[in-house]
Amino acid sequence: MKGYTGKYLRVDLTTGDIRTERLPEEVARKYLGGYGFVGWTLYEEVPAGTDPLSPENVVCLWTGPVAGTPVPVSSKYIMGALSPATGFIGFGIASGGIASELKAAGFDGIVVTGKAPSPQYILVQNGRAELRDASDLWGKTTWETEELIREELSDDEVRVSSIGPAGELLSVLANVTNDRNRQVGRSGIGCVMGSKNLKAIAIRGTGDVEVADLDGLMEFSRDLYKRCRGPATEKYRVFGTPANMLVHNRLGCLPSYNFQKGTFEKVEDVSGERMLETMVKKITACPSCPIACDHINEVKEGPWAGTVSSMDYESLELLGPNCGVSDLNAITKAVELCDTLGIDTISAGVTVSWAMEAFERGLLTSEDVDGLDLRFGNGEAMVEAVRRMSLREGNLGALIADGSARAAEKLGKGSEKFAMVNKKLEWGAYSLRPLQTATLGFATSVRGACYLRSGSYQPDVKGTVDRYHLDSSRGKVVFEGENLYAIIDSLIICKFTRGIYKDNTEFTKLIKLVTGFDWSVEEMIKTGERIHNQAKLFNVRFGAKRADDYPPPRAFEEKLYDDVSDGAIIIRAEYDEALSGYYEERRWDEEGIPTKALLEELGLDATLGV
């Protein structure tokens, strides 16, 4: 096989057995890589009724065919498991050196089962792997863990994905960090690793990846590199994703005060433009990336002086305006805590904003929040709340460590209505009511509340649809976006580069040059449809139904008033119609269950179909 090593590691932590298994070519042709392989692995290996934190759950790490090749921005990997946060498919994609290193070590992926008797880490080196003691690493931050493993191995080039204390403490919001600033952020993959006593995966490889047409790929990659330095990616190069702040505020879709508004009166103070002027210490790039979008902030004065953390739009927005906070120093500190203690910044920001709203409404007492003045806008309190939630410390930490949905279940008193979640996972930094196509896409995503599965906000912000209303035609927008993004996430290439590909034929060209698969655009999109349906089938196995595909109640029950929106609200009947339109486009029934005919056509298990 070209583009693949054709092998993956299977690690049983209970027995300590490590085996190399062959990756069947028919699996590669059917699911392509990355996201597709996660769906395949989980569907094959995690039966109905599995407890996400039991040894029977699987945590897998996969690359795509382009990892380790000259294709720009292709060193990306995905980790997946039955999510302890949602109870459905969980996965996250991260950049950095892990993917290319694993391919160079001779493997396409790692599938981990069981539970180690004591803390351990997996070391993969050129064609072999071993389990090593991690007792001394337990309790360490992710950054410390990376450094200590490199010291232990006397190898500065080794790449490390690790969990922090939050994962060890089984927070369902726990993430996995590599290269200090890159995270498998969502779905609680770090929690599953913690439940298995798996502290880290360390990888070092020096081999090559064979591709189908090296000369052709080099020529195409040179062209892609040039395009990566062109206008389509200028925003990412100069300002990073925080450039979205002022634009989203201007469009009225910048969540603030726990999504109660779509604009923020102090947005200039937390804009990407202000950040670049006052906070950015350096701009860095992942391996094989000519864009360099990663903006590293440094706090220069005050109680958090010296704090350094990578800042992207989602983290900045949700720990900033969504908590009413306009202090860039506080936001930078909070991101550092999330990254080192090992918790997802999106879920952290939305959970703290939920607690702030509950506090302001008088539903949480001073004793409940350990005496913090947890009002919106208090940056110091936000930072302390993040620290406590990451470490399950005090009354507040105990309440919010597992996110806003579970915190609201414990608190009750109507606080469930402003827990901004879908499938119990916190919503990304896009306001719901003024971006209604996006809301449909986020709420129907298999991972839950996901802004990365379909690009469904684009027609809203580009004005090609009425973003304040929904109809059945929006289902097609989400359907088409999901199928293409399933390919992007299975190859796996960075979504920031999607603008450099002229059209879908260039994706088929890339696939052919790397793997030799000579697909038409239609065949490629059909593969994307298969990959998405495989993930959906996994959710169906775990009880997914129509009710799981709705946004939080605030979208339907509270009108939005701010500088842009004048009473915007999602009309439930319109949403119902759009959701049914999406199901119809997907050939799923009214409960969102794929039809047997569709599953058979896609070559998937039709047992759960209707």
């Binding site: 200028e234 990412y236 100069v238 979205n244 634009v247 004048d566």
Partner: protein, 95 residues
Amino acid sequence: MAAQMKTGEGLVRVEFFGPFREFGHRVDLTVPSEVSFEELVSLLEERVGPGFADRAARRNTTFILDSRIVPPQALGEVRVCPGDRAAFALLVGGG
């Protein structure tokens, strides 16, 4: 459901984001009546200095009128009226 984002008094408020910040944060332009996108850019070039029209013409420019992004292919049909709010920004993508 969009609020009326009018500035009043016959002015068009134009905000600058991203690389457009080199031309300032915002300006209030007096326009006699409705103007086309091209006319707006010319007025801004006179007001904020040379180079603005070139920057605005680049294909990664996003033009926002009131609360929506105007697709590049629709810029020729844009009419900016007194009371409108406009903004120039970099291409909006994912992320």
